[in-house]
Structure formats: structure tokens, C-alpha cells
């Protein structure tokens, strides 16, 4: 167990380990995505009120769920890098930030597209949408901060501090936006009870959520591998791998 964790910190070992991880996780993720999309978009029954337009839930909800989880993954990697000073955690954090930002963007855009037929507008200042937008800003802040630092080792530490501060704040932000919305709630817009989702619609949704987690993991590991060979482009193991020596 411990030797495995120690090995994770070694760039050449992680590069090889990540390569074999991607080799089986990528096909598995693609299969899950295809099956989930087919099941959700074609097989699952249409919604009683929303007809077929609700089907965007199979992209929207998984993206939103994984986007939020991704922030915690990023912050956890940041904490590991600050406490144990493991370089690999820096790289994981840097790799996770843009992926999370894109997922948050997908959740926002699909939410807007879903809002048009359901509520009649592209955008409403609903509690969940607003929280998602703020999460998007938090991600962009981390990415922008990383880009602004010239010393990349310091950049990773600065982003780790920022993402930890964000982690402490996320529950407070969510709760405050929730209260803000319930105070100002306009009467014309109401969510139809989403908690009472039928099993025939729920199972493909759960499958899609698992697939999106897989997609997140694969993308982050691939990002990390790319970062690793760039970072160690002068060292022997990379030149050997690329067939230069």
C-alpha cells in the first residue's frame, strides 16, 4: 500500500501507470457513455410534462455533479501538495482545473438550453444555476492565477491555497445563494419535482454520472501525462520513451 503511494510520486512510474490506466479506462468510459446516451436519449420514456426536452438531463446533471466533485479533487490535490510537497499533486491540480471549468461550462450551457423550452427563457437567476455560475468563476480564478505566475512551482502552491480557500467557501456560497433565492423567489418559475424521478429515467442518469466520472479521470490522467513528458522532456526516461536515445 505505502510503496504504491510512494511510487505515485515518481514521474516515470506514474507516466507508465497512467498509460496503462488510460488504456483500459478510456474504452470503458466510451462504452459507458455510448450505452448511457443510447439508453437515456432513445430508450427512456419521455417526460409527462416536458416531453423529450428533459433528455438534456443526461448531459446536464452528470456534468454538474462531476464539476462540483472536480473542485474537491483539485483542492484535495492542492492540500496534498502543500502538506507533503509532492510534485505529482501539483500536476494533478493543474490538470484538473481546466477540465472542471469545461464541465461547469457544459452544465451552464445545457442548463440554459434546457431552460428555453421549460421556462421560456435562456437564463433565470435560480439558486442552482447561480451557484453553478459562481463555481465556474472559482475555476476560472484558479486557471487565471496559475497562468499569471511566472514561477510555475510557486503558481501551483498559490493555486493550492486559492482552491482550499474556495473549498471552505463553497458550502457557505451554496447556502447563501439558496437563502437569497428563497427570499426573492418569483412565483412564475417553479421546479417540477425532480426528486420523484422514475427508475426508468434514473438508471440511465446514474450510468451517465458514472461515465462522466470516468471521463473526468481519463482526461485528468491524460493531461497529467502530457504535462509530465513536457516537464521532463530533457530527462533520459522521456527521451527513451520517445525513441530519441
Amino acid at each position: 500500500m505505502w510503496s504504491f503511494i510512494h511510487k505515485l510520486g515518481s514521474p516515470p512510474w506514474f507516466f507508465r501507470f497512467g498509460g496503462s490506466l488510460v488504456r483500459w479506462l478510456l474504452p470503458l468510459t466510451l462504452i459507458l457513455l455510448l450505452v448511457g446516451a443510447f439508453w437515456g436519449l432513445l430508450v427512456a420514456p419521455p417526460d409527462f410534462r416536458q416531453g423529450n426536452s428533459y433528455r438534456i438531463i443526461y448531459i446536464h446533471v452528470p456534468a454538474a455533479v462531476v464539476a462540483l466533485a472536480g473542485y474537491y479533487v483539485m483542492a484535495l490535490a492542492g492540500a496534498i501538495s502543500l502538506i507533503w510537497r509532492i510534485k505529482m499533486a501539483d500536476i494533478a491540480m493543474k490538470a484538473a482545473a481546466p477540465v472542471g471549468a469545461v464541465l461547469t461550462g457544459i452544465a451552464l450551457v445545457t442548463g440554459a438550453i434546457w431552460g428555453k423550452p421549460t421556462w421560456g427563457t435562456w437564463w433565470v437567476w435560480d439558486a442552482r444555476i447561480t451557484s453553478m455560475l459562481i463555481l465556474f468563476f472559482l475555476y476560472l480564478g484558479v486557471v487565471a492565477l496559475f497562468e499569471a505566475y511566472e514561477n510555475k512551482a510557486a503558481a501551483a502552491k498559490a493555486c493550492a491555497v486559492l482552491s482550499l480557500v474556495g473549498t471552505v467557501n463553497i458550502p457557505i456560497i451554496y447556502k447563501s445563494v439558496d437563502w437569497w433565492y428563497s427570499l426573492h423567489q418569483p412565483a412564475s418559475i417553479k421546479f417540477t419535482g425532480e426528486s420523484a424521478i422514475d427508475a426508468s429515467m434514473l438508471y440511465p442518469l446514474l450510468l451517465m454520472i458514472v461515465a462522466f466520472y470516468g471521463l473526468f479521470a481519463v482526461t485528468v490522467v491524460m493531461n497529467m501525462r502530457a504535462e509530465l513528458i513536457w516537464h521532463h522532456r530533457q530527462s533520459a526516461w522521456v527521451r527513451q520513451w520517445a525513441g530519441l536515445d
Binding site: 502543500l82 459562481i134 468563476f137 472559482l138 476560472l140 480564478g141 484558479v142 487565471a144 492565477l145 499569471a148 505566475y149 511566472e150 514561477n151 512551482a153 510557486a154 503558481a155 502552491k157 498559490a158 491555497v161 486559492l162 482550499l164 480557500v165 474556495g166 471552505v168 467557501n169 457557505i172 456560497i173 447556502k175 447563501s176 445563494v177 437563502w179 437569497w180 427570499l183
Partner: protein, 234 residues
Amino acid sequence: MSASDQPSLSLGASFFRQFLRHGKALAASPADLLNPLLFFFMVVTLFPLGLGPDPERLSQMAPGILWVVALLASLMVSGKLFASDFEDGSLEQLCLAQHPLAILALAEVLAHWLGTGFLLALVSPVFALMVGLPIQALPVLVISLLLGSLCLTLIGAVGSALTVSIRRGGLLLSLIIIPLHVPVLIFGSTAVVEATRDGNAVSWLALLAALVLASLALAPLAIGAALRISLDNG
């Protein structure tokens, strides 16, 4: 333990000294004290010009206007918090001090707040009357801005510490800090809105106070860590 290991100043004395040093620097340049107030004044003027002079609509929007402008004013000044210390090297001296950097930085943040947010909260009733905030809401406005600006300053100080080593870090500071300011804005402006309706403003003020206490406890740690990182980068 030999005598040389003993800190020459106690923690409290160093804290007080640091507080005075920053406070004196602020007091020596009246422009630094007046500019945020002037900024507040001018941006509040922009709202009637943009929204139209209808007093009823303005007074309805007054809590939000005042709070958003106060937040912007706090963002404007927090970029400068550690800038001079970083440039003249006194930040490196602070890092070498025998006391925790977090505590010494907190002293600077508090002095900075007294010179900016605290003053702004005290003069805010004047601007509030200009946009027609009902008189009965004025005490809540002042209290909410007193608590809220301390919270904004503490969070802003984290951003300032993270961006102090970056040239042209001003806009970046806003980008990373605005999302963290959201709860403060919501609690503060809602407290004022509730006060205009004779509603329950106290519970929102209590939430703000809770935020102040939490950020007083946690922000200095992040500020200290961020300052050390900035010194590595610079």
C-alpha cells in the same frame, strides 16, 4: 534555552507595532484614505444617471447599490494592501520574524480595514440618503457595512497576498476574489433590505458576524501561506 532564542518582542507587542506601522503609513497619505470614499461617492452617482432619477425605484434598489459599490471599493483598495511591503522588502523581514507571519499580517489587515472599510461604513449614511434609502434602515446599513467590510478586507487580503508578486495583478485579484465575496454581499444587502421592510435584519447581521469570526480565524492562515509563496515567486 539561551537568551538569544527569546524573541526580543512579545507577540502582542509585535502585533501592535505592526498595526501602528501600517496605520501610520495610511494616515501619512490622506489620499489613500479619501480615494476609496471618493470612489464610493462617484459610483453611487452613476446609478441614478444610469437607472433614471425616479426616487421610488432608486430607494428600492438602494440596499443593493450601496452594497455592490462598497464591495467594489473594497476590491479597489485591497490590491494595495501588501504592495509597498513587498516592494521595499519589509515583507521578507516579516517572514524572518520570530512570530507567526499570519498574526503579523493580520495586524496589517486590521489597520488597513480601519483606514478603508471602517471609514466607508461610517460615512455610508450620507450616500444612502442620496439614493433614498429609508431612514429606519440606516443603522442596519452601517452595522452591516462595518461587519461586512471587515470580512471583505480579510478575504481580499488573501487575494492580495496571492497576487502581490504579479505585475498588473489588479484585475486578476478581482477575478479570484469576487466569487468568494458572494456570501458577504448576500447577507449584507439582505439585512438592509429586511431593515427597509421592518423585517428581521438581526439574523442576517448575525450571519455576517459569523462570517467575520470565521474569516478572522481562517483568513490569516491563508494570508501567511500566500505571502510566503509570493516571496518565492518574486
